[in-house]
């Protein structure tokens, strides 16, 4: 399974678990499904220990035309 990156992410959607939106459902270009935790932020808006997949999603989402879909 290749690491997530701007060339391997197909779709991203927020999902709710335990009543909170805390996870992203990421489908990659090989059609594999990964559940990536949304990193929390501190008072200054800095991410608290994001995993590398979440950083890859943010990089992907910053490209025009790519959108993180809202939860149902």
């Amino acid at each position: 399974m290749k690491p997530l990156g701007i060339n391997t992410i197909n779709t991203v959607k927020k999902i709710s678990m335990g009543g909170d939106i805390n996870t992203l459902k990421v489908v990659d270009t090989a059609n594999d499904v990964r559940f990536v935790p949304i990193a929390e932020t501190d008072d200054s808006g800095n991410l608290i220990l994001p995993n590398t997949d979440y950083l890859a999603v943010l990089e992907w989402a910053a490209i025009d035309g790519n959108t993180i879909a809202e939860a149902d």
């Binding site: 060339n7 805390n22 990536v36």
Partner: protein
């Protein structure tokens, strides 16, 4: 209890100087391969990440025509080691574009590097050692990159031989730039096997300096120059201090169990030891029973046996193999779309995300979780 020294004081210096009890590099003897035992073929068409042996990243940059197989290889021709990582070129690339890059990388958290005292006036030199053999003599580079301060140093090129050779690369102390005390990547060690002009057009960075990709790998050969080519490595070892081939401490072994536990900070799964992640098997499946028929009515939590570096990405597998994102209805055998989430470094949560239909029936699934650097 008295400490007895054998031989001269200098004979014992190497052992006494080691400031930490555990080897800095985890799985340096390539013994643990949770994702895939044996070979993974057809690699190289994009960044590959972690493929076979744990903790060794296969990093691809640019677009290369070169393809390779990665294998956790059992070896019997190097005393003291049972496994190595073998990279075998299967498609050559003799027209190397500027941005092409292939390296085997080992990445280390900043909080595990305090004893290097990097950035202080008392900064320590360090030494990287490993065993390698190849089909011929190649010059490759080993790069050391400080991600916190955008600095790097390449030490020197090493030259492979057709037999196992222990290479020892000394890296000077760096009094500029502390490693950040956190769980993010601070130090990256790269064994660079293929690189385009972006990485070779400068002068090898033999002293610490601001990062300049042109100075990463000048003068190296390419593992992709011929399909005859292979390289095997094992015994990766990082020591604080300045050692040469005569004074480098012996490779510091851990039991397989200790080694595996340390690897689980970055990768875990429900699959058995010796079974590749994602295989079709019911061994290790998690079973939970439906408390209703609707979405989210079949749910369970799972506490990870080892805390992750950061909240992990989770992949759900089922016992049929192949498809990810689904579990299996134990009554009907049909696949059920699932979700995982609310993950912390210590636990995660799983539930069905489509109507289940069979109140009281089993939902069966496997999972893998990763929080790599």
């Amino acid at each position: 209890m008295a400490l007895t020294l054998h031989g001269t004081v200098s004979d014992n210096t190497a052992v006494l100087a080691r400031p930490v009890g555990k080897p800095i590099i985890i799985n340096g003897n390539m013994a643990v391969a949770q994702r895939a035992h044996g070979s993974v073929t057809g690699l190289g068409d994009g960044d590959e990440g972690y493929v076979t042996v744990d903790r060794i990243r296969h990093t691809i940059g640019g677009t290369t025509a070169g393809r390779f197989t990665s294998t956790q290889e059992f070896v019997n021709d190097i005393p003291g080691f049972n496994e190595s990582l073998n990279i075998n070129c299967t498609t050559a690339d003799t027209s190397i574009a500027a941005a092409e890059y292939f390296a085997l990388e080992y990445r280390i958290e900043g909080q595990d590097l305090a004893h290097f005292a990097k950035g202080e006036t008392t900064a320590k030199p360090f030494t990287f050692a490993f065993y390698a053999k190849a089909n011929a003599g190649f010059d490759f580079a080993v790069g050391f990159r400080d991600l916190d301060n955008a600095r790097h140093c390449s030490g020197a090129l090493f030259t492979t031989t057709t037999g196992w050779t222990r290479h020892v690369i000394q890296i000077p102390a760096d009094t500029t730039g502390n490693f950040t005390n956190d769980a993010n990547e601070s130090l990256r060690i790269s064994i660079i096997l293929h690189a385009g002009s972006n990485f070779t057009e400068g002068t090898l960075a033999t002293a610490w300096a601001g990062y300049n990709d042109a100075n990463e790998a000048p003068g190296i050969d390419s593992i992709f120059s011929s399909t005859d080519n292979f390289i095997s490595i094992t015994g990766l070892q990082l020591e604080v201090g300045d050692y040469d081939i005569n004074s480098i401490p012996h490779f510091q072994y851990e039991s397989y169990g200790e080694n595996l536990q340390r690897c689980k900070r970055y990768c875990q799964s429900t699959f058995s030891e010796g079974t590749d992640i994602g295989s079709a098997t019911s061994a290790g499946i998690i079973i939970t029973c439906a408390a209703g028929t609707g979405t989210g009515r079949v749910a369970t939590g799972h506490q990870f046996p080892v805390s992750f570096r950061a909240a992990p990405t989770i992949v759900i597998h089922n016992q049929s193999g192949g498809t990810t994102g689904s579990g299996r209805n134990g009554d009907t055998g049909g696949l059920i779309t699932m979700s995982a989430g609310a993950a912390s470094t210590s636990s995660g949560h799983f539930e069905n995300s489509e109507t289940f239909g069979n109140d009281g029936a089993q939902l069966q699934f496997q999972f893998s979780a990763t929080s790599e650097l």
